[in-house]
Symmetry: C2
């Protein structure tokens, strides 16, 4: 829409057109003014209160939401690019840091007015819902990427390592609760909920971040890479199952918990044996037999199923995330449909939705809450126990299963990556009231620290590129910013 | 993830693995129970109020938002498909009907409890923000599709028709205000705002719906089709300019209006002569020179620019929609980047976001407000004046410009299509308080009626397929559900 200078020089015909236009405009203006002169004398009925429109939102709220989204998206990209280029860290680290920077920890304490303007408290609920819808879509994509073949028929070592890498940190986390509970829990939460949650949150491995790190090193198809991915997948599924149980126990009162667990089990069975096969038979296969791009109806079918599955899990009493994840998992992870859904959703979710989740996490994280040295000692203890449990459990199990010590260590380091998944789990715990903001803040630091240490430790251990047993040609790394 | 029956039959190795797993699980359970037994005796500090987490949203709100989105998406698809297949109407008609069905007009009066459950009033603001973000993205896409070549160097007839098709309905709408203002306006709104708004809203043509109808008839490259598209584009730009002025006048008090108009003019100039060229030079050209798919950074750049432009127009005092539209308009509408952005955004916006806008519109439309026969007479009058002004103005101008009578009539019918754009304008008017819910309801019916009559009238006039002067080979209609 750059003005064409030549077109501004009037030709005879242009001049005539211009004249017609002017006459019409002036004529219209004249007529309008005549109408207005008559109308000015009219009086309208007084405003009635029953006739008030449905409030869309307060004036300026939309502007605030849009502004917040703009700033969040921009800063998350900048920081993600920065840590990726200069610190060789996965972008998710930068995006979480961007969230902390925009939260009360930095912006809120350095420039409170700016914080209040950018993220006023009445905008927080909107940001919360947008970020949660984003995470629901993201978990669906994670489920969609899950390869069930990773979960079965794996090597003996994979099964040993994955079990050890869940049980050891889980028990160490539950044990840690003995010290944390009297100091940082609230009496509204039972020790059972608290300790189960702590155990689960220490045994999470970030499947997406792991996949991204392996992809960057072109190692996802090496034996070590495949083992790590399979272990992470098994860990994720197990951790989410445990978390569903914790959510059930935390939400329901004692006797209700059993029902919740029963409902969850029923729901999973229905999804696996009814919804999955039905979708496959009547939707996926038809859709994939059809030529051409993804139809709107197919996209709508996927959206609606995913939303309904999410609502169902919320209704049961666990979180919408589980339903979205499970729907993704029962859809075939390969094939044209999955590819097309990913092509439509992945980038928009990663660029536009997910950063608000990090910022929302950052807004709930406050360094102020770690007031004295005891708090910081506990925070360090959590980081230490998390690392020791995850790394140690995986390392020992891999050694027992017969892997070499370097690869066992590398596997342990990889499994210690927590990243985005940990933040999702933590927000869930905070929403459920199982952990307090103080514990939340400590755990966010743990998630950052364990994710941050992965790359340098791997560099130390294996060198910048090396996965020594890589027998296959390196696969071209995807040219993308990458899943968090 | 269908269970493989064979894998359930244990082999020796599987049995060993199972045994290891059982021992580990039971061991872990035992250890956990020991920890729990110790922990049960502990007591946690009482819940402190200062330690309360940032409220994400009320419990269940996310579930309600997700459920509403699921129902909305599903019903909009169903109705859109229904009217498209059985009534040969553009899907947007069905989507608006779905909105009315879910609103107080049908669901709310037939089954109030269901309505309250599906769309409780505390969910409305979230739906409002989501639908508005959706419309902002949609207007960006409309701007992106705008071909500036349509706006200049057009044939004489195009210019005449487009001017007439704005001025005539505008003046008739403003004239109609003389009768409507004393009955349906409120004293809080000046006659000037009211009459300008009525004029603008009668002169809107739905560029996207028009494009869709022409595409369905494979007529977008015929002379009649090209003229209609060019006129609609000019109409849209003019109507939005007028609307920005109306918004400025309605928001600001008398003297402030002049400033608003000045700011708007400045903003448009900055976008056209600074932001557009800069983006083109430093972003679009680089991005298009690069190989491979759209990068995350490029997508983020587009999002952030679009959001900031939207925020800027909100700050000026007109609506975020203008900023989004203008950013789309200053980006090159052809070329690889536009194609990639459309591929990423269009389907998601159309399927997931836009239906909530229709439902939100439907929720604000209430047949109850048209209580007596006078209201219905006024409603019919609006429909009549709208049709007469738009059809008559275009028809007469086309005849004067030398087009044949059948094509002149066809052009008039096409220009009378209002569809989605009208709804956007109406919601804006309701948000600004320029029109009351009663006038809003009448105008929604007008938008539906004028859009609905387009296809049958064209069929009557030209036959089911015919654009008689089609000299070019029909272009394959795009295999998609279509822009509303």
């Amino acid at each position: 829409m750059l003005p064409d200078l030549q077109s501004l020089v009037p030709s005879t015909r242009r001049r005539r057109t211009l004249a017609v236009y002017l006459v019409m405009s002036l004529g219209a203006l004249g007529i309008y003014l005549a109408i207005r002169a008559r109308g000015e004398g009219l009086s309208a009925p007084a405003a009635s209160t029953t006739d008030a429109p449905i409030p869309g939102e307060h004036a300026g709220q939309l502007a605030h939401v849009l502004l917040a989204l703009a700033v969040i998206t921009a800063l998350a990209r900048l920081m993600g690019g920065f840590v990726n280029r200069f610190l060789r860290q996965p972008p998710v680290i930068g995006e979480i840091l961007a969230g902390l920077m925009l939260g009360p920890s930095l912006l809120g304490s350095v420039w409170p007015e700016g914080y209040q303007f950018l993220l006023p408290s009445d905008v927080a609920p909107f940001l919360g819902v947008i970020s949660k819808v984003g995470v629901v879509l993201f978990m669906f994509l994670v489920g969609l990427e899950l390869d069930p073949r990773l979960l079965r028929g794996s090597a003996h070592s994979t099964i040993a390592v994955s079990h050890a890498s869940i049980f050891v940190p889980f028990l160490m986390g539950a044990g840690l609760a003995l010290w944390l509970y009297p100091v940082y829990a609230t009496s509204a939460v039972s020790f059972t909920s608290f300790s189960l949650f702590l155990g689960v949150s220490l045994s999470v491995t970030a499947f997406p971040v792991l996949a991204r790190i392996l992809r960057d090193r072109r190692a996802q198809r090496t034996r070590l890479g495949a083992t790590a991915l399979a272990c992470a997948a098994i860990d994720d599924v197990s951790a989410w199952t445990l978390l569903a149980i914790v959510a059930g126990i935390a939400t329901a009162q004692l006797s209700g918990a059993a029902w919740t667990v029963l409902y969850v089990a029923l729901y999973v069975l229905v999804m696996l044996f009814a919804v999955g096969p039905l979708l496959k038979r009547f939707f996926v296969e038809r859709e994939q037999a059809r030529e051409g791009p993804l139809s709107h109806s197919a996209l709508a079918t996927v959206f609606v199923s995913l939303l309904l599955s999410a609502v169902a899990t919320e209704a049961i009493g666990i979180h919408a995330l589980f339903g979205a994840f499970l729907l993704g998992a029962v859809l075939p992870h390969d094939g044209r449909l999955a590819e097309q859904i990913r092509a439509k959703l992945e980038d928009v979710v990663l660029v536009l939705f997910l950063p608000s989740f990090f910022v929302f996490t950052g807004m709930r994280t406050s360094i102020d809450l770690l007031g004295d040295s005891r708090d910081w000692l506990f925070c360090l203890a959590i980081i230490g126990v998390a690392t020791l449990g995850k790394f140690g459990g995986s390392f020992v199990a891999a050694r027992i299963a017969g892997m070499g010590w370097r690869h066992s260590a590398a596997l342990g380091i990889l499994m210690n990556t927590r990243g985005l998944m940990e933040l999702i789990v933590l927000n869930l715990g905070l929403d459920l009231g199982v952990i307090t903001p103080t514990v939340f803040t400590m755990m966010v630091f743990m998630a950052l620290a364990t994710t941050f240490m992965t790359t340098p430790l791997l560099d130390l251990l294996l060198g910048r590129r090396g996965f020594a047993d890589s027998s296959e040609a390196p696969v071209a790394a995807r040219q993308r910013g990458g899943v968090g």
